[in-house]
Amino acid sequence: AQTVTQSQPEMSVQEAETVTLSCTYDTSESDYYLFWYKQPPSRQMILVIRQEAYKQQNATENRFSVNFQKAAKSFSLKISDSQLGDAAMYFCANPGGSQGNLIFGKGTKLSVKP
């Protein structure tokens, strides 16, 4: 079965500092995408960043970057220069099953301290 594991239920970071959220996954696919979604208190799930598994280069979106280790099936999210608005639940997701359904981890709640 395809699984996604986020081992950190909660994390905390000081404003302006860097934090890394961990994610490991298991898939039988050879070509796939990985995603990080953010869910602030407004509840809207927002796509933060995506990584295509066939690309060796780690994806970057402004202050957000990933460390993708395909052999280890690891996909961590690094947030640089953390801002108060980064406080949210973060979910790692990997496609699983038919029709492009996403399998989500249980989430990491990130707090940002001023």
Binding site: Y33, Q44, L102
Partner: protein, 111 residues
């Protein structure tokens, strides 16, 4: 931008009621999904649809059904609501390729 709209932000229903959760997307996506979100459990797939009138069960379909009569609309139906269906419900849609685009969620309370 893709817009996925869920008709209610909050719903309170009584045990045994029939409940409809509506979701509309404006991007002509073939694929639509209903997830349930509970603390500590992440998002779990209830049902998805890959075309009008087509549906497939997800991981937790028991107690739910769905309807997709038009491409833009995907409804989740609780035939007889129970207290263990109190949860956050998220609708999403997708083009042929990822990612998923989500609505704002409906927080359902069954009393």
């Amino acid at each position: 931008d893709v817009k996925v709209t869920q008709s209610s932000r909050y719903l309170v229903k009584r045990t045994g009621e029939k409940v409809f959760l509506e979701c509309v997307q404006d991007m002509d996506h073939e694929n639509m999904f209903w997830y349930r979100q509970d603390p500590g459990l992440g998002l779990r797939l209830i049902y998805f649809s890959y075309d009008v009138k087509m549906k497939e069960k997800g991981d937790i379909p028991e107690g739910y059904s769905v309807s997709r009569e038009k491409k833009e609309r995907f409804s989740l139906i609780l035939e007889s609501a129970s207290t263990n269906q109190t949860s956050m419900y998220l609708c999403a849609s997708r083009a042929p390729f990822p990612p998923l685009h989500f609505g704002n969620g409906t927080r359902l309370t069954v009393t």
